[in-house]
Amino acid sequence: MENKSINITTVMEKIMKGVFWGCAAISIVAVLFIGGFILFNALPFFSHTSLWSFLTGKNWIPSGEIFGIYPMLVASFFATLGAVVIGVVVGISTAIVITSILPPAISSVISKIVDLLAGIPSVIYGFFGLMVIVPIIKLTGAPSGGLSLLAVIIILSFMILPTIIRMTEVSLKAIPKEYKEGAYALGATRLQYIFKVQLRAAKSGIIAGVMLAIGRALGETMAVMLVAGNSPVVPNSILSSVRTVTANIAMEMSYAPAGPHQQALFATGLVLFIIIMAINIGMQLIVKRMERN
């Protein structure tokens, strides 16, 4: 009797371990399957249009079966660049104020506010951009009624702020106290300590945060779609209407007929997937190096 019950428990243990193993394996399977699935659906497209002409083609005319995503790549690049520049300056400054300048009681309130900013859905950012930011840009006499690259940059920079602030805050707080004591003992002022010691020591963490933010900005879709204007042409100024890589998929996927058009959208997705994964792997390498030091 006793032997049997022991057997049952050991079998149960093994089964449960197997179940947990299966759960853990799902993330790996999912990411490989999603990547593989997108690749599988995109590959046939490259017999229609070569990879080179797909990436450098300046025209996107689905009805004429002309597919070039150069305009979208340019739009995504400048939107992300602009947002990251603003986000880094404002975000790192805010993180410095939270960690080293304000008294803890006020800092924790600002931290809560940053958390809130992170929780607001992207469609609300987009809606706010459409109703408030776009009309303001329209006042400058923008050709497309305010729907522009500039509006995208403004909205994206606020969307990535929480990511940058959080990561900077965490890495600034992780700096050993001895650094501060040492700097102060050498006669450094608070600002000298912050900029010459603390920020430099926290460099890898901040860079990881910025890369995370780049990924978020590149992958954002709905907020961007609402304020971008979405014309698939190479932007000639910050006020022109643009279409990002993500918006290109979201705009046309629901009605694209099976065939080259749909495959072209999968190819667009593949390009996005590869860029995001490259950024992500780069970030993981930085974090690894950081952990080693």
């Binding site: 299966g22 900013l117 809606f127 950024i279």
Partner: protein
């Protein structure tokens, strides 16, 4: 440097020049400028949030029409139910394996890598995948189930990560005590480790709920945009966030859109408040 020379040329410094050697007002001005800039950036961050929330509440509070919003609210509830119902058990299971069974082996490294990559995939790619796989290949057509499966995959990394963090905070002595009393590994996990990790797990669940409620790109490609009360999970429907997007895009009634935005924002604020309360209780 430019600011320094500008200040010098402007003559502001003339009066305080004799003291310069003692208190170095040169750096004082520079410091004040830097402090001012840092303060400005913080004000921008905080100010933007108040502007956004304040503006949407101001424009939308009077326009919440609950009867018109019932179909999207119901669809949202279905979506959250399916999304959490799948991702929470799987995510907790995965976190248990990583934290309770892991021996830092190759498999665990692979799992961590997979989770990180999955977390990095933008939602539009989940939508693209979900539409082609669930909707077309598995012939589900646009429906809430396809949307729910897609968002379940999307929030899985969040559940795994937060549960893992929660399990890590449970002291090893709890496990040792339980094992020493003769409990098996499974009963230790189920009866000792998990109950102590519940607040942390709950925070992750709330975070995931917020992400599902706020998600648009992955859902409108998989669950469709039909406006109406869904009969079951196989019917198409639009969640509150998709509803807001459609209203904003169509531009027919911005008042309705503001109403939907207020409701959406209200739900997110409530969820934030709940997770804040749990976190506060946890630290006590």
């Amino acid at each position: 440097m430019d600011n320094e020379t500008a200040i010098k040329n402007s003559g502001i410094l003339k009066y305080s020049q004799p003291e310069q050697k003692l208190t170095t007002p040169k750096t004082n001005y520079k410091e004040k400028l830097i402090y001012g800039f840092l303060g400005l950036c913080t004000t921008i961050t905080v100010g933007f949030l108040f502007w956004l929330i304040g503006y949407i509440l101001y424009r939308g509070l009077g326009h919440i029409n609950f009867t018109a919003l019932i179909p999207p609210i119901l669809t949202t509830i279905y979506m959250v139910g399916i999304g959490l119902g799948l991702s929470v058990p799987i995510g907790i299971g995965a976190a248990i394996y990583i934290n309770e069974y892991s021996l830092n082996g190759k498999f665990i490294k692979l799992v961590r890598w997979g989770t990180e990559c999955l977390a990095a995939v933008p939602s539009i790619l989940f939508g693209l995948f979900g539409m082609m796989f669930f909707v077309t290949t598995l012939k589900m057509s646009w429906c809430i189930l396809a949307g729910g499966l897609t968002v379940a995959l999307m929030v899985l990394p969040t559940v795994v990560k937060t549960t893992e963090e929660a399990l890590k905070t449970v002291p090893v002595s709890y496990r040792e005590a339980s094992l020493a009393l003769g409990a098996t590994k499974i009963s230790t996990i189920v009866k000792v480790v998990l109950p102590s990790a519940i607040p942390g797990i709950l925070t992750g669940v709330i975070l995931s709920t917020g992400r599902i409620i706020g998600e648009t790109a992955a859902i409108f490609l998989t669950a469709g945009t039909v406006f109406g009360i869904p009969d079951n999970v196989m019917s198409s429907g639009r969640t509150l966030a998709v509803h807001l997007y459609m209203l904003a895009k169509e531009g027919l009634s911005f008042e309705e859109a503001y109403g939907a935005a207020v409701l959406l924002l209200g739900i997110i604020l409530c969820l934030n408040f709940i997770s804040y309360t749990i976190a506060k209780k946890m630290t006590k």
